[in-house]
């Protein structure tokens, strides 16, 4: 297995990605995790600005990168991720690709 695709702690599914994303986003926005739903819009529902989203991306890359070496999120794709669901789907797809 090539090192760059090595999964250190087993596969990461949508539920795990959602859990990690909620946890990190709640820390960044200083809000209760319960406010973050799959259907939540980053801007309209959670008031996340561009800097908060970049913080989230960096946090996800750091945490998921420890488990899936080489995991990154393309900045160009950020603008297309409007809801938590879209972000979870995107991350799961990137992890599986």
């Amino acid at each position: 297995m090539p090192a760059e695709t090595h999964v250190a702690h087993g596969p990461i599914g949508p539920d795990e990605v959602y859990r990690i994303l909620r946890e990190r986003l709640a820390e960044i926005l200083e809000i209760d995790e319960d406010r973050i739903k799959l259907e939540s819009s980053f801007t309209a529902d959670l008031d996340a600005d561009s800097l908060a989203l970049i913080e989230l991306v960096e946090a996800l890359e750091e945490e998921l990168g420890e488990r899936t070496v080489g995991f990154t999120i393309d900045d160009e794709d950020l603008g297309d991720l409007r809801t938590v669901q879209e972000a979870v789907d995107y991350v799961v797809a990137r992890l599986g690709s």
């Binding site: 820390e27 926005l29 200083e30 008031d47 561009s50 800097l51 970049i54 991306v57 960096e58 900045d75």
Partner: protein
């Protein structure tokens, strides 16, 4: 704090006068302050500015990239990981330096510090605490935010107030700092929606005095003046411009008649000496509060003297444990 020498990471490529003035300032800081300086930037630009290429107390960390003054802050901080600015923040994160100083892109400095050092829990956005001289007073005022976070929520401004109070305790040695919200009138109902909603939150902050106006700056009405980064930056630039115009006016008057010229021989040196207190280079830099490390932001046209004084501020912040005290105060509510 241990007696080990403090190392300050300095962005050698940041600012209008980089790298020449920055490197000269770093050299003077090592001599005058006894700190170590980690000069971060393009080695081939820095090394020729050092006597014999090397100086005790100064280390060079090569960074291949530079963040320009007009770049998008968040994007630059994320994408340019090999920039001198991001590498400075990374050095603090990794413990190779205890503080950083940057005179480049202010927004990018904030973003780099936030992304690499992390935030203080309970603080959503960092803010720059700028000391403002008070000619008739015995201590400075703090203006927070001086330009870090342009668009703010009322909750963020309330956080700025709490950070400003704690910083005033540490740096201005005020036991119970008073806080004012910068608005367009003293009455509680004055201001736009942001000010009105912030006012009600600040009523729960100890030491809240109420609204203050622009004319209360430099007059010590309160110890901490709270505003959003957009307004704060406009205020600072306005003060700078007004002071410069006032100085020009005084010296024109002192040059206007033979009698005035005679008086000027006595008065001018005194005025120039007094005006030194208002020279931004003498302040050096302002601290970015709310990130989990010491980050001092110096103005874009910093001279070598400004860099020395910015490093001094960074050193004092490390020695007095500004970040640790801030965390304790925020945790305590």
């Amino acid at each position: 704090m241990s007696t080990e020498r403090i190392t300050v990471a300095v962005d050698a490529m940041g600012g209008d006068n980089a790298p020449g003035e920055i490197v000269r300032g770093a050299l003077d800081a090592v001599t005058e302050l006894g700190v170590g300086v980690l000069l971060v930037g393009q080695e081939n630009a820095i090394a020729p500015l050092l006597p014999d290429g090397r100086v005790p107390g100064i280390d060079i960390e090569h960074a291949g990239d530079v963040v320009a003054m007009d770049e998008d802050p968040a994007a630059a901080a994320r994408r340019k990981k090999d920039s001198s600015l991001v590498r400075c923040a990374q050095a603090v994160r990794e413990g190779r330096a205890q503080a950083m100083v940057g005179a480049g892109n202010t927004g990018a400095t904030m973003a780099a510090a936030l992304l690499r050092m992390g935030r203080v829990r309970g603080i959503s956005r960092p803010a720059i605490a700028v000391p403002i001289p008070v000619p008739a007073g015995t201590r400075h005022q703090l203006l927070i935010d001086g330009g870090s976070t342009v668009d703010c929520t009322p909750e963020w401004l309330a956080q700025f107030a709490r950070m400003g109070r704690e910083y005033a305790r540490t740096r201005l040695a005020v036991d119970e700092p008073t806080v004012g919200l910068l608005s367009n009138g003293e009455e509680p109902g004055k201001g736009d929606e942001l000010r009105k909603r912030t006012f009600s939150l600040l009523e729960k902050v100890p030491g809240f005095h109420g609204n203050v106006e622009g004319r209360d700056l430099m007059h010590g009405t309160v110890d901490v003046v709270v505003t959003d980064g957009f307004t704060g930056n406009v205020v600072l630039k306005t003060l700078e411009g007004a002071l410069r115009a006032a100085v020009e006016l005084v010296f024109r008057v002192l040059d206007s008649t033979p009698e005035a010229k005679e008086a000027g021989k006595v008065v001018a040196p005194l005025l120039l000496d007094a005006a030194g207190a208002f020279d931004p280079d003498m302040t050096g830099g302002a601290v970015l509060l709310g990130v989990d490390g010491v980050c001092v932001i110096s103005h874009g046209s910093s001279s070598a003297r400004a860099i020395v004084n910015a490093v001094r501020v960074a050193q004092e912040c490390v020695v007095t444990g500004v970040v640790g005290r801030l965390k304790e105060a925020i945790d305590a509510g």
